[in-house]
Amino acid sequence: MAAIYSLYIINKSGGLIFYKDYGLQGRMDTNDSLRLASLWHSMHAISQQLSPIPGCAGIELLEADTFDLHCFQSLTGTKFFVVSEPGTQNMENLLKHIYELYTDYVLKNPFYEMEMPIRCELFDINLAQAIQKDRVSYLGR
């Protein structure tokens, strides 16, 4: 049982730079994930304009019958969002932690080009550890 189904990272222009599937169902191929990422980027931007409250920072949580979508946007415009089981707790902290892993293992890699797809092994390894730790603590609750 996976609490997290998938993780997406999109750059400030809405392009998908990282996608990881953890679920057993609902796996997507590359084209679908790219399309979904740009859809989410647009929806996020539209939600900021639709908001009745000025200074809205966009959608943080989307709750549906079969999943929750938690989104974190850094002040630099990079969005981290995770599709999880309904009612999963602690996703904001996980997203913040993933942001820190991104700043360490992706941005500090001098061979990583900004805004390009992430192909950093250290990031993958540390991300897997973080997700695993979250899964373990989730099962322990």
Binding site: G14, S42, A45, I46, S74, T76, T78, Y102
Partner: protein, 186 residues
């Protein structure tokens, strides 16, 4: 979930991994010397240092935001204070003070208390036009550009050139908010 409290520069600086300050000073000195050998023109070296700083700044800003938990600054005054008190402390271990605000609040000076880059450094007569610490101006410019602020960052006073302090002038040229995918007139 309660929003995370912004951390002070001291707290973050205490928690990050440190490196020998002399290694840092020597490495930076080696970079400047190599650039002078390769490019020969002092103006070119200044430009290259600024470009290197820019490339650092665009990556450093996310690290800064992740570790310090600062929220969006309401105005440029707050931005300058955050750079001086949290940013410089976190990465260089020194604090800066913010002074010389202009009437519109778009231009200010950051005066560094201390500058680890210039320990043991003296500029020879052949390099009199060199802004030795120009990498710092690039870093600030790059970092601010990633949070939608176009700025011009220049050295007003430089102790290696005979002045009494290190003064960095930061001028906000314009705020460039993010473009939305859909515009009404399209």
């Amino acid at each position: 979930m309660a929003p995370a409290v912004p951390r002070s520069g001291d707290a973050i600086f205490a928690n990050v991994e440190r490196v020998n300050a002399e290694l840092f000073t020597l490495t930076y000195g080696a970079i400047v010397r190599q650039l002078l050998t390769d490019l020969e023109e002092v103006d070119e070296v200044n430009k290259q240092l600024d470009q290197m700083g820019y490339n650092i700044g665009i990556r450093l800003i996310d690290e800064f935001l992740a570790k310090s938990n600062v929220t969006r600054c309401v105005d440029f005054r707050e931005t300058a204070e955050v750079i001086a008190k949290v940013g410089f402390k976190m990465f260089l271990g020194v604090t800066a003070s913010v002074t010389n605000w202009d009437t519109e609040g778009t231009c200010c000076s950051l005066i560094l208390d201390d500058n680890p880059l210039v320990d043991f450094v003296e500029l020879p007569d052949t390099c009199q036009g060199l802004y030795y610490c120009n990498i710092l101006s690039g870093v600030v410019r790059g970092a601010l550009e990633m949070v939608s602020m176009k700025t011009e960052v220049t050295w007003v006073r430089d102790m290696l050139r005979g002045d009494d302090a290190f003064e960095l002038q930061v001028k906000l040229l314009k705020q460039v908010p993010e473009e939305y995918p859909y515009k009404d007139d399209e």
